[in-house]
Amino acid sequence: MRSVATLVGVILFLIVFGPLLAPHDPTAIDIPHRLSPPGEEFLLGTDALGRDILSRLLHGARWSLGLAFFISLIGLAIGTALGLAAALGGKVVDWAIMRTTDTFLAFPELVAAVVIAGLMGAGTWSLIFALSVTGWMRYTRVARGVGLSLRTRGYVVQAQLAGLSPLAIARWHYLPSLLPSLTVVWTGMFARAILGISALGFLGFGVQPPLPEWGSMLLDARVHMRSTPLQMIWPGLVVVTCVLAINLAGDALRDALAGDDTRT
């Protein structure tokens, strides 16, 4: 849990303070300095419009990481609520929710996101909608699974006998036990959201220029691959680093939880 907490701290720091560290205005066009190589003034060079790549990357954290964070939390909220409703709400509710989940899972999430974002018209809100709508199913499955296993647990039965309302039971007796496994799912979904945002940005369906989003930066850089290949390296490197760090933190948490299970 500590690795994930540290990671969340670093990412929130990047989202909040990243733009403040930027040496230049990320959208300031500077044609005389276009496509300059890395140097003293522009540490990572400039893009085709002479914008400082380092500054764009730092500002981009707010879009690529911040949006991914937001989207993965929306998925967490929707998915957990539906999963618990399926576990606690009786057979009909369970059937309806799980068949809906199956339907949403019966399609590659990113392809669905491309279709949805593309049809809604490119833009940040379409992006958020598309990735949230396709990003809740894993939480639902896990929440329902754990929820079902908790239903016959002693303290849940006691809470029912005490006459606690279903909402209070969900809040006090289900959520705390769900938290660790949901956090593992969340790390995976957070990483997927980062990849999804940059993929949609790369296809031109995501955050629109001139906003500095990493995927759309890659799209810009692609045209000038022959002359300034480095320009294409940076955004990808940042995405890979973030996704790798999140995945490793998630793996560590999963291993720690598995260790807990074997001990008790």
Partner: protein
């Protein structure tokens, strides 16, 4: 008073309880004995309304049992408490849920009666011994003055010394509080020593309902007699006989 009238319970295709009838007055204790799989836990679940009987009815004072807020003491005290909440929160749950209050000294008084140190309620379930946890479980059952308390193997997770002690505390508190107790156990000695009546359950049927004296001296021939002889051979019935 508890009335169980010709109750049948089905679990899937199998019949878990057949034609069960019994009754229990306030202040009295009914011990239900039987081997594993005889239907003891199903009986408790049915009385608490967690399982719906396919036939027959279960009432307390003419109304559904759940209306009287019955309490349950579980076999495994550890899993009966949410590991992340303090024991005080779990114990107060029945009071909080009904929106009521209790006299300030009732908790202390009950803690005294159960020989629990006063600060124990601020600990987590994992920070107390099994015996203490079980007594906190009894405390939770009694705190809202439930008129009917069901005990599901209340002693079997405890060691021998703690078992005797806890059994005595339960009967002392029953004298004081006057609740009706239904104790499910496979321990004939405990049933005979503390039950006003013993119901023998086998394969979902009641074989016999008898007083401890009747059961020890003149059990119904067949299963009940075998059961009595086995318990005598083990020396489990000495106290009662």
């Amino acid at each position: 008073m508890l009335r169980v009238n010709q109750v049948w319970v089905k679990r899937g295709a199998a019949v878990a309880l057949q034609d069960i009838s019994l009754s229990l007055e306030p202040g009295r204790t009914l011990a239900v004995v039987g081997e594993s799989g005889a239907g003891k836990s199903t009986l408790i679940a049915a009385i608490l309304g967690l399982l719906r009987p396919s036939h027959g009815e279960i009432t307390w004072a003419g109304a559904p049992v759940r209306a009287c807020r019955p309490a349950l003491v579980m076999q495994e005290p550890r899993s009966a408490f949410n590991p992340v909440l303090s024991l005080r929160r779990s114990v107060m749950e029945p009071i909080v849920a009904s929106g009521g209050t209790i006299p300030a000294d009732r908790l202390c008084h009950l803690c005294d009666g159960l020989e629990l140190p006063p600060d124990i309620l601020d600990r987590r379930p994992t920070e107390v011994s099994i015996g203490q946890a079980q007594r906190v479980g009894i405390l939770r059952a009694l705190v809202a003055s439930a008129p009917l308390v069901l005990f599901d193997e209340p002693l079997s997770a405890l060691d021998a010394v703690t078992q005797k002690h806890t059994a005595r505390l339960i009967s002392d508190l029953q004298c004081e509080e006057g609740f009706a107790a239904l104790i499910v156990t496979h321990d004939l000695g405990y049933a005979a020593a503390h039950g006003d009546e013993i119901a023998v359950l086998k394969s979902g049927r009641i074989e016999e309902i008898a007083t401890p004296e009747q059961f020890v001296l003149t059990p119904k021939p067949g299963y009940c007699e075998q059961l009595r002889d086995a318990a005598l051979a083990l020396g489990a019935l000495e106290a009662a006989a």
